[in-house]
Symmetry: C2
Subunit: 221 residues, 2 copies
Amino acid sequence: MASAPATVVATSSETVTRILTAAEALFAEHGFDAVSMNAIAERAGVSKANVFHHFNTKQDLYLAVIRAACHDASQHLDDLGNDDAPMAERFEGFARAHLTSLLEHEQVARLTLRELLGEDPHRGQALAEQVYGEKFARFVAILRAGQNSGELRADIDPAAVATLLIGANVFFFEAREVLRHFPEISFARQPDRYSELLTEILLRGILPSDSSPSSSARKRS
Amino acid sequence: MASAPATVVATSSETVTRILTAAEALFAEHGFDAVSMNAIAERAGVSKANVFHHFNTKQDLYLAVIRAACHDASQHLDDLGNDDAPMAERFEGFARAHLTSLLEHEQVARLTLRELLGEDPHRGQALAEQVYGEKFARFVAILRAGQNSGELRADIDPAAVATLLIGANVFFFEAREVLRHFPEISFARQPDRYSELLTEILLRGILPSDSSPSSSARKRS
DNA sequence: TGGAACACTGACCGACCGGTCAGTCAATGA
DNA sequence: TCATTGACTGACCGGTCGGTCAGTGTTCCA
């Protein structure tokens, strides 16, 4: 008579949450095949048989984790449409918020990236497409509005801009550990600074503005 | 008395190559833990015991695969420093060549991305850092030269530009399957077109040029 | 009061894992 | 000619995997 319908056997209690939390952490850190049901049960503080009582198979548990992660992700970054600020500010705001969201919800981000790389049970792609597709569409719509109002160049593809920004942020997220060891990079530990630099480049480009006469006199430090 | 020194037990024959090829394909597609030595042996057409004859442990084999992949990668993209063309062209050339290289050597790219995500035996990171760090440094140096010659803005961080470009390409590579299902995106199956769009955005930015009077008259299709 | 329902457990299963080993076979060189 | 070497194999090892099951304790309702 309970309200729970289908998809997951579990109907009650905090135990399911404990299992899902443990599984999310382990799957995010090590990947599907590197995590055993025993390890999940141990981390959740229950018996392995109990895990199988709530989730029929390991794949079912994994799918439940992915589903929960997508549900989480669908609630992040939800407050960036209602802004009247100039486009340049909104753009930087989104860049910053997106990167911050990635870093703050590292486990969800890692799970998604593993799913992208084709961790063997690649069912979750459909879910991810739905969640991230909607966010992508909203961001592209904002850029289109900026084009229509003349705040952004009309002869560029807003979807390419969105892909570029999101890609740059995702890459920063997944490679930051390595980027730290590149001596040319000063921003590996400062995501906010990276967002600033990134925004400046995307807004105004890397070529000198034609009318500026100051180009040849500059020197690097 | 042979020439092979250390690092790997194997000293001879095409068999080692067959094993490495099979292992590279399987590790790239499924990840370290999802691939059994039996599967590798079967794909290579040899017995499992023979695999262990040439490689002491599964990790040794994995490291040998990573090492070979890094050696491959170090020979890609090696012909982009000797160019006298204008910076804008060199930039687009690099963007295109980098993305093409990712797509053409998909297995190496996937192995590297898995390593980035922290596949459990993450020893290979040091190797990858060395290879990609050198390429990164060379690209940054080219950008710096462009700044000194006045072809590029002097007030931007060339390392940020490089990270942005590489990140956008890597993201396109890893997400292209998903991007195909986003209706806003027209370039998911056309990497060359993506490189064009990306280059235009990075070179000139997304803000309208101040002196241009044409901004308000444009319409989207 | 009793029994249906359910969360939960320890013991257990067959399959498969990474890894070992004794031994076969062809090539080599003294 | 024959001992040595090294690539190679099938059989096998202990251990762990995902998954099952009989049974226990508790709750709740008839």
